[in-house]
């Protein structure tokens, strides 16, 4: 692949300057159009060391309005970030709608440096597959992100020249603030790795563009042309899609779904325990979970607990009892409402990536990312295509967390329709609780059956071994609270036991 690239091209200074000015103006105008259209863009630079990536980025951003882009570098990845899931930092660096994120090396670099370059202790962390990368990029482009991947290419001879002489003779050309020399750079070894990378990750939704950087001028002009062509295409596609959306909304999707079993109906809601027996058991469990929290903290094992359930299903009460025995510095409860205007400017999973717990800590979610396949599905806020796709996207996200050693546990608080009615009424009549109940709760209730279908499908499609669902029979609140605590304790103990081996 790389061999076929013509590196011989040249361009005269005058011609270069003229072209550069014209192309810069085009790119600036495109940026404004993309901003107005709310299209988010990710531009990625990977390539041989010494191939003027820094210079290239500076030339490109000189054409852009600084209000519209940010520059990131994977060479700045911190030790703390390496304790979290691999893609965590990149989720946080996603551009908002209408913005551009420019990456001076990113996920490819982290993977490849591990393959060729310096090994370090966290080598397990870098060990992701090209399939995982493709999945990550696919999930972004599915949600409307534009990904443009630039590979900067040059010959071994030119690389040596640049790395030994070039960087000393010019103050405005850098190798990412750490101007290393040629020492230890094995061109052939990198070339092999890059060939594989280019072959395995050159996808229609996120293709590679190989830029000849043997001559700086040629490389700059070529990069500008690539960006302009790609962004123009993206913009046209975006306009087309917008136009089509109206038409599509009319055609109700009627996919021949496979039969989803009625999982919820298999749970026996008559399960109960007396208050007195509860009090006694609860005290012991509360103390136990506090001890386990400290052990997990010492071993730096993090936990993510997800609560979903019917309105008035007892999520809040269960969370309160779960956390009463925990050191408040070691956990955080994240209540999830409808996304605000800022959050809406991102991929729908972005906001949950902001709350990944620090090593050894716990993040408890009061409602979760499953909103996509529950309320957004039932209310039609997500298209059928979007929520169908979401099961896999969510499984992928949770797999990334568990791969990093995070305990993921999900609870569905199950009550029946009559019990919900009784609880709504009780809330309305209690002056201290009436703020808890709104007209929206009553409206949601009318869609009970649609929700049953959505919950069953969610349980069916996203109950995985590493990130399991536990349906909690929550008609009796004492029974429910104990079941949540017991489930958590069992999982924590199992993980600790496994660690000790």
């Amino acid at each position: 692949m790389l061999e076929k690239i013509n590196l011989k091209g040249k361009i005269k200074k005058d011609a270069y300057e003229k072209q550069f000015t014209k192309l810069s103006e085009n790119l600036g105008a495109l940026q404004r159009e993309l901003r107005d259209a709310d299209v988010p863009v990710i531009i990625l630079f990977e390539g041989f060391r010494g191939s003027w990536r820094g210079l290239l980025i500076n030339k490109i951003i000189s054409a852009l309005d600084p209000r519209g882009f940010s520059v990131f570098s994977a060479s700045k990845t911190t030790e703390k970030q390496k304790q979290g899931p691999f893609f965590g930092q990149f989720w946080k660096e996603l551009p908002a709608a209408g913005q551009i994120s420019i990456h001076h090396r990113a996920w490819y670099f982290l993977k490849n440096e591990h393959t060729v370059g310096d090994k370090d202790e966290a080598s397990e962390w870098y060990n992701i597959s090209y399939e995982e990368i493709n999945t990550f990029e696919k999930e972004l482009t599915d949600e409307g992100y534009i990904i443009i991947k630039i590979f900067t290419h040059l010959s071994a001879k030119q690389q040596e020249k640049n790395l030994t002489k070039g960087f000393q003779t010019s103050g405005s050309q850098w190798e990412s603030l750490t101007p290393g020399g040629i020492e230890g750079i094995d061109y052939k070894a990198y070339e092999k790795v890059y060939e594989e990378m280019l072959a395995k990750t050159d996808m229609a939704y996120a293709p590679w563009h190989i830029i000849p950087m043997e001559s700086k001028r040629v490389g700059i002009i070529e990069t500008l042309k690539v960006l302009i062509a790609e962004l123009t295409e993206a913009l046209n596609k975006h306009k087309l899609q917008k136009a089509e959306q109206g038409r599509k909304a009319l055609q109700k999707k009627n996919a021949a779904d496979e039969t989803i079993p009625d999982i919820l109906s298999t749970y026996d809601l008559s399960k109960t325990i007396s208050e007195k027996a509860y009090e006694k058991k609860y005290k012991a469990l509360r103390q136990k979970i506090g001890e386990l929290q400290l052990k997990l903290y010492e071993k730096k094992i993090s936990t993510i607990v997800a609560f979903e359930g019917w309105d008035a299903g007892g999520k809040g009460g269960a969370i309160k009892r779960l956390t009463a025995g925990l050191d408040p510095l070691g956990y955080k409860v994240n209540p999830v409402c409808a996304p605000n205007d800022w959050e809406k400017k991102f991929h729908y999973l972005w906001r949950f990536w902001q709350h990944i717990p620090a090593p050894g800590e716990a993040a408890i979610f009061d409602r979760t990312w499953y909103g996509r396949v529950l309320v957004e599905r039932v209310e039609g806020f997500a298209t059928a295509q979007e929520w169908h796709r979401a099961y896999q996207e969510i499984n992928d996200m949770e797999a990334q967390w568990t791969k990093q050693g995070i305990i993921v546990q999900k609870f569905w608080m199950q009550i029946d329709k009559d019990e919900q009615y009784n609880r709504f009424k009780a809330r309305e009549e209690d002056p201290d609780k009436t703020w808890k109940i709104t007209a929206e709760d009553w409206r949601n209730r009318e869609k009970w059956d649609a929700y049953v279908g959505a919950v069953n499908e969610m349980l069916y499609r996203t109950d995985t071994e590493e990130a399991p669902w536990t349906v909690v029979e929550a008609k009796n609140k004492f029974y429910a609270r104990l079941k949540v605590l017991e489930t958590m304790i069992k999982r924590m103990e199992k993980v600790l036991k496994k660690q000790e081996k």
Copy 2:
């Protein structure tokens, strides 16, 4: 002060439980009222080790809606944070309007641990004064933040008992996830430090409340009572102020200001340089500043550059030329617009603290925190009291930065009214630039004289030795760009020279 506190109190279990339930309900209701009133609250816990702070916090948050608070701990301060200004992390942890931030130890702890406890390499960093703390708290309360400071007190005997036995016998009582023993804890030494702290920082706007924690039950009840009393008062005050605001707006403030010199008129706008001479000089300076950037990066010296100036004064062009020679991974341009809805929920300086550069890097601001004394003053978005106070607040903030070794440089891009007119017209007539000019620009122009007064006062009051203003004669853009570069280079060289000594 501490000696006078009665530590002997007791309370029976039944009475405690009854009171706790009632007070919890009150606190929960107050939280909802404060949320509706958009009042931000900071609750601080400091005190002897082993005084059940963790337990106390857990009891309090059990009464609160998790959507309304966050818990922070200064024992989690990272090494990275210690490379930035002392109060930087606390600015980031400010609650939004209507929210509560709970601190399990905060700025007092960081200062005091340095005085009594473990010393570490960054000891210079901890060395802040009580005056600096008072200033920080004053600036927050001036902007409507409520600060409640709780000091947890207990006897030496009880402390020993708690730290040797108590923490092992109960899983639900912690010393901030790191259950250290009694070893090395010198009660007397801490007592002395705390006495001084309580004496010097017990201010009317942020008073201390000493809570006897000899008995856990008494301490919990007392703390709840203090919180309820303080928050009720804060709420009443808030309502009163709201009612008064209408009246006050009618009385136009007519303060007898001291005479501010017309600083702007002393600059000679006829200064000029030919394009050819500029091109030659510029190339050398661009290379020079790139070299200096790398040196500062290696020495971990950060830079903050602030650009203010007339509309069409050439800020954007100057920033572009300033950064063209810089490695894009080492700087970030932060364009500042009017605060968005989320930013409006915080102290007006909060959003700038989000952009403190990492060690060795540079943050360039295209418009700045001086908006408070420029556009907000002229347009009446800030009250006279608010913008009068802002000069000192801004000087304090910049002093905190320079104290941490950050280079702070501020530029005012100066043109005259005729030149602005010409540039506006030119922009309107150029199809590639017409997006740069809006009706608002023309409206601002009508207030030219008011702005002159505001700019003069800003330059007069905030031109400090460590964070100086440079007025740039910007009628000739070539001259202006060179002056910006030369000024920056001179400052960078001076700082580097000083370091070498």
